[in-house]
């Protein structure tokens, strides 16, 4: 019997998601077939034509009404690429319909939503995967060094992940909104919360290397972009995480502007062990690319429709030759569906991951460390 081909329904091409960057892997994978694009009627005006364009490009139907689309027989897997505020509702709906879940980065906007998604997935027995965090070289190489035992006992970590994107500009005091915007509001037309967006990768790496996190200390408030300063929202931040056995991880993460780093921003991890310190550059392997014409004839400009470069790469002097993570994640999902095994990062991991990030925001607002698990108002 030929290997089964799984039908994937793409739910939304929101500009706040990576749905478009998943498409090439879906298209190329021999065990995957895209069966449609779906969204609800009450969506941002820009999104309807965008969804339609993608459906036409892929030669699949563009369906209005997520609930009905999810129930279609040809749908085995639902790829959730909606705004963070809608992901939990869609994930629950799909799980209850018995459809497996491929979810972009976050399963909910708060802890209540995240827990509800975990309950729905557990209750339905479907398979879930969040592909963005643990299939990349930074995580793979870190795990390899730790598992090899050459570091001795891992006692601490440090991670720097910065996106060299967008063009920072001077910020006047009048442009700065006083105070720091608490967690909960994620969606803006002009910015992303970057501790959430970029810091999420570093937190996931720590999760893969440490025991459960029990304490989080966060800092933010210095800005690169006037847009972020005007919202009092993070374009950069730091977290310090303490795990159950007392190990300490520090991380810096954010969006700090184009041409600030030869490789488009550091993607670096240090693993401190009792026998030595490991250093992993997630941008390597790569080819150093120093081409005269790109500088002396340089006419680089940022797309006016995508000023923060959410959907484009930064200019870089390093041509990465590492593996592309989406294919590895897709292989993991297909294997899980075939064999009933558990993918490397499921909704349970995503729930714990979001709790660390929310605790980081809480810590920034309160100027003090936050203990996990959070409870009461902190967890909302």
């Amino acid at each position: 019997m030929a290997d089964r081909v799984y039908g994937v329904l793409l739910i939304s091409f929101s500009k706040h998601s990576h749905q478009s960057s998943f498409v090439p892997a879906f298209v190329d994978h021999p065990r995957i077939r895209i069966v449609g694009v779906a969204d609800d009627a009450d969506i941002d005006p820009y999104l309807k034509p965008l969804n339609r364009t993608w459906a036409e490009r892929l030669g699949v139907p563009c369906l209005e009404g997520i609930e009905a689309a999810v129930r279609r027989d040809e749908v085995d897997v639902v790829s959730v690429g909606h705004e963070i505020e809608r992901r939990a509702e869609i994930a629950r709906l799909a799980a209850r319909a018995g459809k497996h879940l491929w979810i972009d980065k976050y399963i909910g906007a708060n802890m209540r939503e995240c827990r509800e998604v975990v309950d729905a997935v557990d209750g339905s027995g479907v398979t879930s995967i969040l592909p963005s965090y643990v299939y990349n070289d930074l995580v793979n190489q870190s795990r390899r060094i730790i598992d090899a035992g050459i570091l001795g006992e891992l006692t601490a970590m440090h991670v720097d992940i910065l996106f060299g994107k967008g063009i920072p500009r001077p910020i006047s005091n009048a442009q700065r909104k006083p105070g720091f915007l608490p967690a909960g509001r994620w969606k803006f037309p002009d910015i992303k919360r970057e501790l959430l967006t970029v810091g999420a990768y570093a937190v996931a790496l720590v999760q893969q290397c440490f025991e459960p996190i029990v304490e989080v200390y966060g800092q933010a408030g210095a800005y690169f972009f006037p847009e972020h300063a005007a919202h009092g929202a993070d374009d950069f931040g730091t977290l310090t995480l303490v795990d159950r056995s007392g190990r300490v991880a520090t991380l810096s993460a954010g969006r700090n502007g184009i041409a600030s780093h030869g490789a488009g921003g550091p993607n670096l991890a240090y693993l401190f062990g009792t026998k030595g310190t490991g250093r992993i550059d997630g941008k390597r392997p790569g080819i150093d690319t120093h081409l005269r014409n790109r500088i002396v004839d340089g006419d680089y400009c940022v797309d006016e429709d995508d000023p923060m470069q959410w959907h484009s790469g930064p200019p870089t002097m390093l041509t990465s030759t590492g593996t592309e993570f989406t294919r590895a994640a897709l292989d993991d999902l297909v294997n899980a569906l075939d064999t009933g095994t558990r993918p490397r990062f499921t909704v349970r991991d995503a729930r714990d991951h979001m709790e660390v990030l929310l605790a980081g925001y809480e810590s920034i607002v309160r100027n003090r460390p936050v203990r996990l698990p959070m409870s009461g108002g902190e967890a909302a």
Binding site: D160, P170, A222, V248, T250, N256, S260, Y270, T274, T277
Partner: protein
């Protein structure tokens, strides 16, 4: 006792930092702050002593005009007080770890003698760099908890200079026990810039790995790239390139630090927090005293 110009007390690592400079000077003795047998070459032209001495031998044999303690050790306060009593100009690279009745010892910033630091400070003050936002500094000094504490002290001074703002608050999180103690300092300045000062266990060759982020770009001092190396059959070995540091710069006024009583108390609280955090597996917040 033989009169000499300078006695330098420090770790083997610090010896390597100043070795080239010392080799060109007469009358400078370097003594190891930790125990161990006599190490390195001795003797030299014109009666100069070069290389490493054991500390007790050096204190018994020489009367220096100036003495500098780059690493702390048990009994250092007594030795420093004795030297001061003998008219020696004494400086240390950090506050005395124990409270003593001896007169205050002058403290200096060791990075003032580091060409890498001076170059980074200059680059960071250029308009192209913009406003400093974040500093990450990783060090792995020799020695136990006190040595790591002095490293944190120097790192805090370095951070305030590179971030161009006084510190406002630190969060201390430590893991492990000496000599495999890891200390993480998360700091915030009065300008809301932030930093991570990481002091790793002493088995690492990772020294002063520095990454400074400004609104205009980034500056990095990466020891991996700045050290020569050798490809072997099965690995890549980093070789030593001594950082040429100049001892005389440690006696310049620019290197001198004046700590207020509150600041001294802060750094002693920080020392206590390192131990408490490692024991309790929790981080500890400390407010930096306002000027």
């Amino acid at each position: 006792m033989k009169q000499i110009e300078r006695l330098v007390v420090g770790s083997r690592l610090e010896f390597e930092l100043y070795r080239e400079d010392m080799e060109e000077q007469d009358g400078v003795v370097f003594a190891r702050s930790t125990g161990g047998s006599r190490d390195g070459d001795r003797g030299g032209q014109n009666g100069a002593v070069r290389g490493l001495e054991t500390l007790r031998d050096a204190l018994n044999a020489y009367l220096p005009r100036q003495a500098i303690f780059l690493s702390p050790y048990r009994g250092m306060a007594v030795d420093a007080a004795q030297l001061i009593e003998n008219g020696v100009d004494v400086r240390t690279a950090g506050p005395l770890p124990v409270r003593t009745r001896s007169p205050d010892v002058s403290i200096m910033e060791t990075h003032r003698s580091d060409p890498g630091f001076r170059a980074m400070l200059e680059a960071s003050r250029h308009a192209d760099f913009g406003e400093p936002v974040y500093l990450r500094l990783i060090s792995s000094p020799d020695g136990g908890k006190w040595g790591k504490w002095w490293c944190v002290f120097q790192s805090c001074r370095k951070a305030a200079a590179l971030l161009d703002s006084p510190l406002r608050r630190v969060y201390v999180a430590a893991a492990g026990t000496s000599p495999r103690l890891h200390v993480s300092i998360t700091l915030k300045t009065h300008r809301n810039s932030t930093g991570h000062l990481l002091v790793a266990p002493d088995r690492s060759r990772l020294q002063d790995d520095l990454f400074l982020v400004g609104t205009g770009g980034t500056l990095a001092d990466d020891p991996l790239l700045n050290q020569p190396g050798m490809y072997g059959k099965s690995d890549y070995r980093m070789l030593t390139r001594p950082t040429r540091r100049c001892l005389a710069q440690l006696w310049e006024n620019e290197a001198l630090i004046t700590l207020s009583a509150d600041e001294r108390r802060f750094y002693h609280d920080l020392l206590r927090a390192i131990g408490d955090s490692a024991r309790s597996r929790r981080g500890i917040c400390l407010e930096y005293p306002t000027a």
